[in-house]
């Protein structure tokens, strides 16, 4: 029933539309067309072409920017940007290490580490809060060290403890050994850490002595016996009984020799089970 009504209404609509008067072109239409042809072609583009193109271009540019931003922020890009960027991101995610360091009193300059050190590796005594803060920093640093690439068979030569000659002008430390956190949890990038620079031929003990660190080579490697007050080794919180495993990423043995232009930015130390990297620079 409704269909019939609709069909009838459609017929009426058709009649109304087809009954509309037809508009005719004005006189001289053809001449005007030929005149426009003679004038040289279709009329110019709309003056609003710029606006219409911007209507497309602006959203397109926004999409490109957002896409690029998301791509850069994507975690998948970690592997593409290399270990340095990955480490930087991780360091940004770390808990408030710096605030923990601020809570802690500065390391007392007039206390001899060799005397204050007991069985505990924690130099802070008395306050449990300070103690836990320091322990947290150590643990975080250790986690970072493990993530960044702990000692492996591939990056520690078998002859490390037996000594050898290393030409510093040729040998560069592997990245994984350098990019470990120091005691403050900061990532050490050798390109940013100021270091000692000297020219000559040095044994590990000589280099450590420059930093105010006395060490003896024992069965575990170079063990720290004392750290001079006010020395850079002290400032970098090298403690007695720490084992110096590498200087600037280069594993050291009994007879390791650094030749030529030597730059020392980082020390890799073993403290108990923890592997830490400290910056004795400044």
């Amino acid at each position: 029933m409704n269909n019939e009504k609709n069909n009838k209404a459609d017929e009426v609509i058709s009649d109304l539309l087809s009954g509309l008067p037809r508009i005719e072109a004005p006189p001289g239409f053809g001449k005007q067309v030929m005149a426009r042809i003679a004038a040289g072609g279709p009329s110019a583009t709309s003056p609003f072409w710029f606006l219409s193109s911007m209507k497309v271009a602006i959203p397109l540019l926004l999409m490109i920017f957002v896409g690029a931003y998301l791509f850069v922020q994507s975690p998948d890009t970690e592997s593409e940007q290399g270990p340095l960027a990955a480490q930087s991101e991780r360091s940004a995610e770390l808990p408030s290490i710096e605030s923990a360091a601020k809570e802690e009193e500065p390391f007392p300059a007039d206390v001899d580490v060799s005397e204050s050190r007991s069985d505990s590796v924690l130099p802070v005594e008395g306050s449990p809060a300070k103690e836990s803060a320091f322990r947290r920093r150590i643990e975080t640093g250790t986690r970072q060290a493990r993530r960044a690439g702990p000692r492996t068979e591939t990056n520690v030569p078998e002859t490390a403890n037996e000594g050898g000659s290393i030409d510093r002008t040729i040998t560069r430390p592997p990245e994984s050994m350098i990019l470990t956190p120091d005691l403050d949890g900061a990532i050490l990038d050798p390109r940013e850490v100021p270091g000692f620079e000297t020219v000559g031929e040095f044994k590990p003990a000589d280099i450590l002595r420059i930093m105010g660190i006395r060490a003896e080579f024992g069965e575990n490697g170079w063990r720290v016996t004392s750290v001079d007050t006010l020395a850079s080794g002290r400032r970098s919180r090298v403690l007695v009984d720490d084992i110096i495993e590498a200087i600037d990423g280069v594993p050291i043995g009994r007879d390791t020799v650094f030749k030529g232009k030597v730059t020392i930015r980082t020390l890799q130390i073993r403290r108990g089970d923890d592997v830490l990297t400290v910056a004795p620079g400044n």
């Binding site: 209404a9 109304l16 008067p21 508009i23 005719e24 067309v33 042809i37 072609g41 279709p42």
Partner: protein, 216 residues
């Protein structure tokens, strides 16, 4: 440089004209390609009224319709080398006219004022572009001045473009569904569906007219 073959075609066209036969659109186009301006003038003469009427009903603006009809012929002339005979010439020229009209409507949209009707309309299909009133007088002023004529014209003008083009081509220009689908680049089913939808919309807009209301 006119080849012998072109000369033959030109002569063929003139021969048709002399014998009183009506040359086909394709013959006229071929003659135009060969530089015969009188052939193109014949095409203009043949299509100027249908195109002007179509564009007027599409745009609801007589001056704009005449201007776009002329522009259509200019474009045909300068693109005549690219025309191929796969479709009827009428399809080709209506297609150009439709594209120009749609561009014109878009240009109007950019200039349009905010229409309160458009703001409160929920159905996007029922939204209408702002149509500036055409103040020019039509040849049949008596009819157009009547309430019915004005109501129909404004109802067509208020249709969305995608429905307006097919309904005007079908009901006013009287083209076949297949040709309309070729002009608009749509499938046959889509074309029919849009024409039906346009009829439905017009039915709603014109139901106050006698004979359109479903209750009658």
């Amino acid at each position: 440089m006119v080849s012998e073959r072109d000369d033959e075609r030109h002569a063929d066209f003139n021969e048709h004209a002399l014998q009183g036969e009506v040359p086909s659109d394709h013959q006229l186009i071929e003659a135009t390609k060969n530089g015969d301006e009188s052939a193109f003038a014949e095409i203009v003469e043949r299509y100027k009224n249908p195109l002007t009427n179509y564009l007027y009903r599409f745009l609801n603006d007589q001056e704009e319709a005449i201007d776009l009809a002329q522009e259509t012929f200019v474009r045909v002339y300068f693109a005549v080398e690219r025309y191929h005979t796969a479709y009827a010439f009428s399809t080709y020229i209506y297609r150009i006219a439709t594209n120009l009209a749609i561009s014109e409507i878009r240009r109007r949209k950019r200039r349009r004022l905010i229409s309160l009707t458009g703001l409160f309309s929920n159905d996007p299909d029922d939204s209408a572009e702002f149509q500036p009133p055409d103040k020019s007088r039509l040849p049949d002023a008596h009819f157009e001045d009547s309430e019915t004529g004005r109501a129909i014209a404004s109802a067509i003008a208020a249709l969305p473009v995608k429905y307006r083009a097919p309904i005007v081509l079908r009901e006013i220009e009287g083209l076949a569904y297949e040709e309309i689908s070729n002009i608009l680049g749509l499938g046959l089913g889509t074309t029919k569906s849009r024409i039906n939808r346009a009829r439905g919309l017009l039915r709603g807009k014109l139901e106050h007219l006698r004979g359109v209301s479903e209750n009658e």
